[in-house]
């Protein structure tokens, strides 16, 4: 038994006297095995990458708003990125391509995914199911410490000769197979190696999450009493486990094409470029759901709690998560309608894509149903969760346009797609991340975030976000292509210049607004109002322990008596009824959905 395991075991034996045993500093903060510390590590690193990704977007937006004009302050960047002129430095097209590629890559793989999975997966799964830690704490540590060098390699690629990868975050072959086509040699290889390493990190994490949820649930925590955040993270972990190996395989094949002369994706030596797209999207579409399912779970938690009402249709919410998990595997071809694959396949993928709209719609209607006859508290996490719902509606509906194959012919590869994906990933995932961070901040740091500052940040972000991304629909409908360095090269796009400038100015405002969040975040860690165990009057297990929870989490193994969303139950005098509160004696209303009172013997441990 390892030292850590002994620590936990002895702490539990001692009935929660955890803090007798000092953990060395380096094991506590650096090579930590405690899931809460790893969650924080993922949070800090991912928030850093979120800032980097935002800066890249800002530079891209400058070029689109003011094509070919000198960028203020860009003189400090090397000549390989910005061409010096007497009036200032002008962005080069190869750097623009790198910005497009790296903004997408960093936001998806190093910001959104680790925030949702690395932060919330680590923080919530053990706490919400009543476990003292992950099943494999050391694997968990390895997962984080693989992600760090992956991120460093990705950043380093900006500094190598030829610059960072420039073939798009999808790195379509044959463009990505050789520097001959892009001018990027080492940068593209670093991109491949970095993502392969990150893939291993995600795989290790996924194995851990799945094992933990299956094996370490507290007595009484039956499958249909698991909070939806953990359910969504569980389904996500299964998707990661199955999808990442496909990506890793494809990345290695592309790396071999680049470095040792194989020709998997190179038609000049008998390879097939479309194979890359099939492999990439067979991973990539489940990845899209990896990026949204945890956001749905977080939203469900916050919505139900702040509406003080049971989630509407808990079972159908779980079934919708699972069916998205299945259907997510058979829709990848909708990214490839115009790729040159057999057009007969287009119709099959259109039908499966239309089908996956159904579980997403179920979830949306259930969120609305949750708010019906509720008692809605507009705290900052709730504001973000509500904007998730309203923005996800837009992102979901705009998806129907491109699901329709003939309409997709026109809008494919235009800004309509850019608008759609940002309504899902920013309007959806990122608002849910803000909701989650502000909601569980007291659990992580023992203090509340500043409410007025949080509200200002929310309102400005919500307004600027919509002013940036909503008009992109209109740009796309006018035919403006994505990933294009200078759209004014096209006569028919020149009238779009004012709209592009408008978007750019509000993009700068949107980026600047995030300073408020950074200030609030750090100020609140040290100066925020002290939070008790359960500042939101929540039912789930993480709120039964101190904030922040001690090593080992639970002083005693909790016993679970009911589902997670028993708000405003007639069985309780308060408007909440924690999962651990024993049922009242004698006959009375049953403890509601789901399941009757368990006996600890009958429960899984």
């Amino acid at each position: 038994m390892s030292t850590t395991e002994k620590d936990i075991a002895s702490a539990v034996d001692a009935g929660g006297q955890h803090d007798h045993h000092e953990i060395p500093w380096i094991r506590k903060y650096v090579f930590a095995t405690d899931h809460k510390m790893i969650a924080k590590q993922f949070m800090f690193v991912s928030l850093f990458f979120l800032v980097v990704g935002g800066a890249l977007a800002g530079m891209m937006r400058f070029q689109l708003g003011f094509p070919g004009q000198p960028m203020p302050g860009a003189g400090i960047l090397p000549d390989a990125m910005m061409a010096p002129t007497p009036n200032g430095a002008i962005m080069l097209p190869e750097f623009y391509n790198s910005l497009v590629t790296m903004h997408g890559t960093i936001m998806i793989f190093f910001a959104i995914m680790p925030l949702l999975v690395g932060l919330f997966g680590n923080l919530l799964i053990p706490l919400q199911i009543g476990a003292e830690d992950m099943a494999f704490p050391r694997l968990n540590m390895a997962s984080f410490w693989l992600a760090v060098p992956a991120g460093m390699l990705m950043l380093a690629s900006f500094a190598v000769e030829g610059g960072a990868a420039g073939a798009g975050w999808t790195s379509y072959a044959p463009l990505s197979t050789s520097g001959e086509w892009t001018g990027v040699y080492l940068g593209q290889q670093l991109w491949l190696v970095s993502l392969t390493i990150l893939g291993f990190s995600s795989l290790i994490g996924a194995v851990n999450y799945i094992t933990t949820v299956i094996n370490l649930r507290a007595p009484g925590m039956t499958w249909f009493r698991i909070p939806l955040a953990t359910w969504s993270l569980f389904v996500t972990a299964v998707l990661i486990l199955l999808a990442i190996p496909i990506l890793a395989g494809a990345l290695l094949m592309l790396l071999f094409d680049q470095t040792i002369g194989t020709g998997f994706f190179r038609p000049d030596v008998g390879g097939e470029p479309l194979l890359w797209q099939h492999l990439f999207w067979f991973f990539g579409h489940p990845e899209v759901y990896i990026l949204i399912l945890p956001a749905m779970g977080i939203t469900s938690e916050v919505l139900s709690n702040r509406a003080r009402k049971p989630i509407f249709g808990y079972h159908s919410m779980v079934l919708a998560l699972i069916s998205i998990g299945f259907l997510g595997w058979i829709v990848w071809g909708h990214h490839m309608f115009q790729s040159g694959m057999n057009p007969l396949l287009g119709t099959s993928f259109m039908i499966s894509t239309m089908a996956i709209a159904v579980p997403s719609a179920i979830k949306t209607f259930n969120w609305l149903g949750t708010l019906w006859k509720a008692d809605i508290h507009f705290d900052v996490p709730m504001l973000h969760a509500l904007s998730f719902v309203s923005m996800f509606i837009i992102g979901g509906l705009s998806g129907i346009f491109m699901a329709s194959t003939p309409v997709d012919i026109y809008i494919h590869d235009t800004y309509f797609i850019v608008a759609h994906l940002h309504y899902v990933l920013f309007g959806g995932s990122l608002f849910a991340i803000f909701a989650g961070i502000t909601y569980w901040f007291p659990k992580m740091f023992g203090r509340m975030m500043n409410e007025p500052l949080g509200k200002v940040h929310f309102v400005l972000t919500f307004i600027f976000y919509n002013l940036v991304f909503f008009p992109m629909h209109n740009l796309g409908l006018q035919g403006m292509m994505r990933r294009i360095y200078d759209f004014t090269q096209y006569d028919f796009l020149q009238p779009l210049q004012p709209m592009n400038q408008f978007i750019t100015l509000f993009a700068f405002a949107l980026i600047t607004t995030q300073v408020l969040f950074v200030i609030n975040f750090f100020w609140s860690i040290f100066k925020g109002e002290t939070a008790g165990n359960n500042p939101w009057n929540s039912n789930t297990l993480e709120w039964t322990v101190p904030s922040p929870p001690p090593h080992g989490n639970f002083a005693q193994m909790p016993t679970v008596f009911r589902g997670p969303y028993e708000y405003s139950s007639p069985e309780s005098d308060d408007d909440f009824l924690p999962q651990t509160t024993p049922p009242r004696e004698g006959p009375g209303p049953s403890s509601g959905v789901p399941a009757p009172t368990p006996t600890p013997e009958g429960a899984e441990v």
Binding site: P93, N97, G168, Y172, A173, P174, L175, W181, T182, G183, P267, P273, K309, P310, I311, F312, G313, S316, Q338, P343, G346, T347, M350, I351, M354, A357, V358, A361, I362, N366, L368, G369, W372, K373, D375, I376, H377, F378, L386, V389, I393, I394, I400, S404, T405, P406, V407, Y410, H412, D413, L477, G479, I484, D486, F487, Y490, D491, L496, S568, D575
Partner: protein, 228 residues
């Protein structure tokens, strides 16, 4: 910037199938627009109506299977209907190339469109073929069948006013067709990131009257040029 910049109206299009595409677009726009207004409206109404007040307690309610079945079925029916309407137009645009179309070859290469015409004998692959760069010429009301090819990386032939878009894939010969319904000069664009010069990979689609097109083709065929 004016309010018209926020328009959801598609720009004019001039091909035989463009009206069908645009019609499906407007159907989807109306369907999703109505759903958007209803769902966001309900959301806002609930937020106002059920906002926290002193003494309010939420209704203890776990949902309704009847409602779940209703909205699941409704979503499924709407989505499948849109799918069925879309299928016919998709088949017309991507599969059913009309008989008797004028065949040309468009070869995409960083960062140019090489367009090969059959020449006076009307057959491709013969000595009298001729090539023009970054221009496609065609006659109005005559179908054109493009053999879309690429030599190096992926490109995507985008003819926005014809509602045509198709990736060009090295090693493949992909059929693309359209029939213009009005003469004029239109856009050729590349819609797939193809390298440093991607943004410059544009050209002009010229739709002539039948007589003008013949005159153009004859003049081009007679111009001395190296064989493609």
């Amino acid at each position: 910037m004016t309010w018209s910049d926020w328009s959801w109206v598609l720009p004019d299009a001039f091909s035989t199938f463009s009206d069908d595409v645009d019609m499906i677009y407007y159907v989807i726009l109306w369907v999703t627009g109505i759903i958007f207004v209803i769902t966001e409206g309900v959301l806002i109404y609930f937020l106002v109506r059920y906002r926290h007040k002193e003494g309010r307690k939420a209704t203890y309610d776990h949902g309704s299977s009847k409602l779940e079945i209703v909205w699941t079925t409704a979503t499924l029916v709407v989505c499948l209907a849109l799918g069925i309407v879309s299928k016919g137009v998709w088949d017309t645009m991507k599969i059913d190339v009309p008989e008797g179309a004028m065949e040309i070859i468009v070869t995409a290469q960083q960062f140019e469109w090489h367009v090969t015409y059959p020449g006076p004998d009307g057959a491709l692959g013969t000595a009298d073929d001729f090539e023009v760069l970054n221009q496609i010429h065609a006659a109005v009301d005559e179908p054109v069948w493009i053999h879309l090819r690429a030599t190096d990386v992926l490109h995507s032939l985008f003819l926005p006013e014809m509602r045509v878009k198709q990736d060009a894939v090295p090693g493949k010969d992909i059929p693309v067709w359209f029939e213009a319904t009005a003469t004029g000069e239109y856009t050729i664009g590349c819609a797939e990131l193809c390298g440093i010069g991607h943004t410059t990979m544009n050209g002009t689609l010229t739709i002539h009257t039948a007589a003008d097109f013949q005159a153009w083709a004859t003049a081009q065929a007679q111009r001395p040029r190296p064989r493609p």
